[in-house]
Symmetry: C2
Subunit: 414 residues, 2 copies
């Protein structure tokens, strides 16, 4: 591997591509609303396919809806892959996901132009339905299909808010759900994903780019506390079994616990519903989610165990019953150490100051880790914003991220 | 006034009438679903009108939908009125409201049969849409119309969940919304309402009947706490402005405060919504209701002031903004002391053990207090249940309540 080959990156071309792609599904001024298999998303994928062909890459769509663009390797072998997704939140920004796809295309094109064909195959991938913003249970759809984690029946059973199945949406966009198992790949040697940070760590550190050494363990648990509904006026406080009081204690307890643990532990209660939900009725039950994350495998399990103990204690003490269901459980994903070294060398060669950090958000790289070693690069987010039209990263920071990516791909593929 | 005249009450007739009325809108086995101006409600009102005519009472419906049945007084003057409502929750039980209407009819009939026509006019009223269960903003519709608290435009602006205005519903049931101001009464000398307790105090005290000395102050406040939405994974705990954390502290604080004050203070958070409400998103805002009640006028105002201070403190300390809006404010309603004495005498004459207590629930009597002195009688509720098909009171307790009512009406009207 050679460290010191960083191709030139044209900031104007980067800006042009970001703004051109942002026109597909443009929303709320600076945002996009571009859900998987929608007209806007299909047109955006086609746009990237067109740019890839212009760059001399071999373009194909797989059965799941992922777009692949390949520079063949002179020595063959397993592919070095980079990419992310262009589906968005409703609405989201121009950068979340899309920046990773464009950066991979720009980096691969620049490498080819500067250094000719790679030794190993070098591929761009634009993955399908990372967000789960159209099909809530289909997050990481494209990367799950690649690693063989789409189950039989998923195409029929996975539906959007209007009741359309993902299989129907795929068929409408020209993909054959019956062929989805053909999206599986077993010939990938590395997956490198560039993404906006979506948090404030780089801004705090006054750095443009981070090398991501791990993706956090993410567990989302649905909790239902059940008590006894009664009249808000006629039923005295001292004999109530009020699940709202238990819920409030649970929220305070888990949030205070994450604060006490300190960074990088995070715990969020973002969703709750009250039954029956009348202002003059003591609720019979409160159902809510706890999203708790820690990138250290041991600390994460300790955190979840502590939550279980806390919930049981609160319920027992208050005469409530508690039911829990794990909705999502993504174990931590550690980056490949040799990739981290390659990224550090690339950053040094490009004179870009970086830091190492864990990702608190989930990413396609977590899925791809099932079939190959992975690592990620973060680009600074203004005010740490994401999942909003307001998300923003400067072209200078983005170019710095692309240089680290290109230098890393050079070491892996040339 | 004479104290010792309690007419005989036939338990079998009481039971028959309860079960016959319960057939109109029968629901969930032992419950009813009988909303204002529905087919079931109109038929139930007609049933009571029929029974009233059989009892020799002069029956009429007013423009608001209230049913009146009158025994003329030999000496004329302002009327002594008793009644309640037969509209229900969705579903509710057979007793909430309906028992007060039936008890008034049974008591007035028994008094007439035993003692002939009263000196003062004696009237039964079956009030319309007390619950607000069909038209959420039309609670106490019938009693508000009687006291002149229905505003111009209310008939058009008040709509049910399917968008039908209360004016249209009235017209469909044969009432003329343009005439609603004619429902106003200025010739009522007393309003006595019998109701199930809806709480556990009588059961705790092992007593069948209570004399209600006050109806609590009820204030419902909508509170919105606004913070800063961010990514649940990428945004660290220590710099969050999480309105969910503030909401939890607010719930705990107001509930703990009511517990510390002790009976009869009650505070309930029965309703909340989270925006945007994603399990992986720190909320931007949480909106909830605080229902807080105290029957003592001074203590109630002190309670509300304390809540305001608590909310401001929590918001300021956590960097949240707070908005509050009073949705409902029903000042406490003190019973007329001479009526309380009459009730005590009636109970003594009938050898019924009673206690004095405040009502924690709102009732039509609170509205009627605008135009005349009022008082209430409570009948024991099994397990303190109400607003459910499971609500239940024994025929023995109900007969005891009717005897206290009849003895009270005797003192006021004979």
């Amino acid at each position: 591997m050679q460290a010191n080959q960083i191709p030139e990156i044209d900031p104007k071309k980067v800006a042009d591509m970001i703004f051109t792609l942002g026109e597909f599904g443009a929303h709320s001024g600076t945002g996009v609303w571009r859900t998987a298999f929608s007209e806007q998303w299909v047109a955006a994928q086609d746009c990237i396919a067109g740019w890839s062909r212009e760059a001399g890459l071999e373009v194909r769509f797989d059965a799941a809806g992922n777009l692949w663009a390949r520079a063949e390797g002179t020595e063959g072998g397993d592919a070095i892959v980079s990419g992310s997704h262009i589906d968005s939140q409703c609405p989201g920004g121009r950068y979340d996901g899309a920046l990773g796809v464009l950066s991979a295309l720009i980096a691969i094109t620049a490498l080819k132009d500067a250094f000719g064909p790679p030794r190993k195959p070098l591929e761009l991938v634009s993955l399908c339905e990372e967000e789960g913003s159209r099909f809530p249970t289909a997050g990481f759809w494209g990367s799950r299909a690649i690693v063989g984690r789409v189950r039989p029946g998923d195409c029929d059973n996975t539906v959007d808010i209007s009741g359309i199945s993902i299989g129907t949406a795929m068929a409408n966009a020209g993909f054959d759900p019956a062929q989805i198992s053909q999206a599986v790949r077993d010939d990938i040697a590395a997956f490198i994903e560039l993404h906006i940070e979506q948090g404030p760590f780089l801004e705090d550190a006054d750095l443009p780019v981070a090398v991501v050494n791990a993706i956090t363990h993410i567990r989302q648990t649905k909790v239902k506390l059940t008590g006894q509904s009664n009249h808000a006026g006629a039923f005295p406080m001292d004999i109530r079994c009020d699940p709202m009081a238990g819920f409030a204690e649970a929220v305070t307890t888990v949030i205070d616990h994450a604060n006490a643990l300190g960074r990088p532990a995070v715990t969020t209660v973002g969703k709750c519903s009250v039954d029956p939900g009348g202002s003059a009725i003591i609720p019979s039950s409160v159902t809510f989610t706890i999203d708790a994350r820690h990138p250290d495998p041991k600390a994460a399990l300790e955190l979840y165990k502590t939550h279980d103990i806390m919930l049981s204690d609160i319920a027992a003490r208050r005469g409530l019953s508690v039911e829990t269901e794990i909705l999502l459980d993504l174990p931590p994903c550690l980056s490949d150490p040799t990739f981290l070294q390659a990224m550090d060398r690339a950053a040094q060669a490009a004179s870009i100051a970086t830091m190492h950090m864990a990702s608190g958000a989930g990413h396609d790289a977590q899925q791809m880790a099932e079939i190959c070693p992975v690592a990620m690069i973060f680009v600074r987010s203004e005010d740490g914003r994401s999942h909003t039209p307001e998300e923003f990263s400067t072209i200078e920071d983005i170019v710095a991220g692309i240089k680290v990516l290109a230098g890393t791909l050079y070491q892996l593929a040339y």
